[in-house]
Symmetry: C2
Subunit: 144 residues, 2 copies
Amino acid sequence: MSANSRLTIAAHALAWIGLYQRQGHEVATSEQIASSANTNPVVIRRLLGELRAAGLVESRRGVGAGWTLTRDLKKMTLLDVYDAIEPGPLFALHRASPDEGCVIGHGIQPALQDVYAGIECTVRTELSKTTLEDVLQAVLAVPR
Amino acid sequence: MSANSRLTIAAHALAWIGLYQRQGHEVATSEQIASSANTNPVVIRRLLGELRAAGLVESRRGVGAGWTLTRDLKKMTLLDVYDAIEPGPLFALHRASPDEGCVIGHGIQPALQDVYAGIECTVRTELSKTTLEDVLQAVLAVPR
DNA sequence: TCAGTCGTAACAAAGATGGTTACTTCAAAC
DNA sequence: GTTTGAAGTAACCATCTTTGTTACGACTGA
């Protein structure tokens, strides 16, 4: 597995809902999205549930239920999605606290924390540059 | 666990060896490093083994055995370490291939691949800006 | 009342990471 | 040649994350 594909699936789902709505449909079902992404509807519902908590999508229940976007894809960036579904940092510090009696053990965590913070900052900046509309247009631009 | 701490432990080990050598010692043992990082010597040997494969450190066996740097910490960046120990990409594509019959399913992977490649590129650039000497100096600068 | 879809719990499978033990191999020192 | 200390490495386990799957309750429009 190595890396995780949650950002990929979330972007897939949002682009799918956006295109579907643009074609005149009101709501998209987790079943439809799962079929396109080749995964299980529950996986989609779980992921969209997190996006809903972040205010990116809404869901309706009952007959004719499904998912809708809360705002245009132009106003949604990959950073919004990332923040909604990725809780932890890119790099972790020590699992167990290093030896405070050792010079290295004492200073290594603050030292690395600064470096890691800088990297996370640039990643976030990069993610914020791409909107889901950019993603959708790039998808549509791929030749068949 | 969430994220992984391999880069952290590797940087810790390299800084430790570097400082130890600077203090006049020839070789550092996995036992000593593990004690400072509060982990198991085998974990250190495994990690240093990968760094050795990348040419960053050397090991000697027999009595008085241990680990040495192959070059100065100034000429070693976090990117060198990252490349030595992190095989996979930051973000993964779909685990199972999406539906090629669907417009989104067909174009989503090339579209996201471009975005992800750009992000990896900036992360690598950031990592290459910090040398292990920078890390060691930052460690030594932390007040007791 | 019915039917369709979300909401969610529960569980399993798989992979990554890290910890531990145990044994082999090596090379310097004696 | 024997001893000794440390690397090399296999094996196993525990934990965590992610993903897939089944099952069933909750909701709501027709």
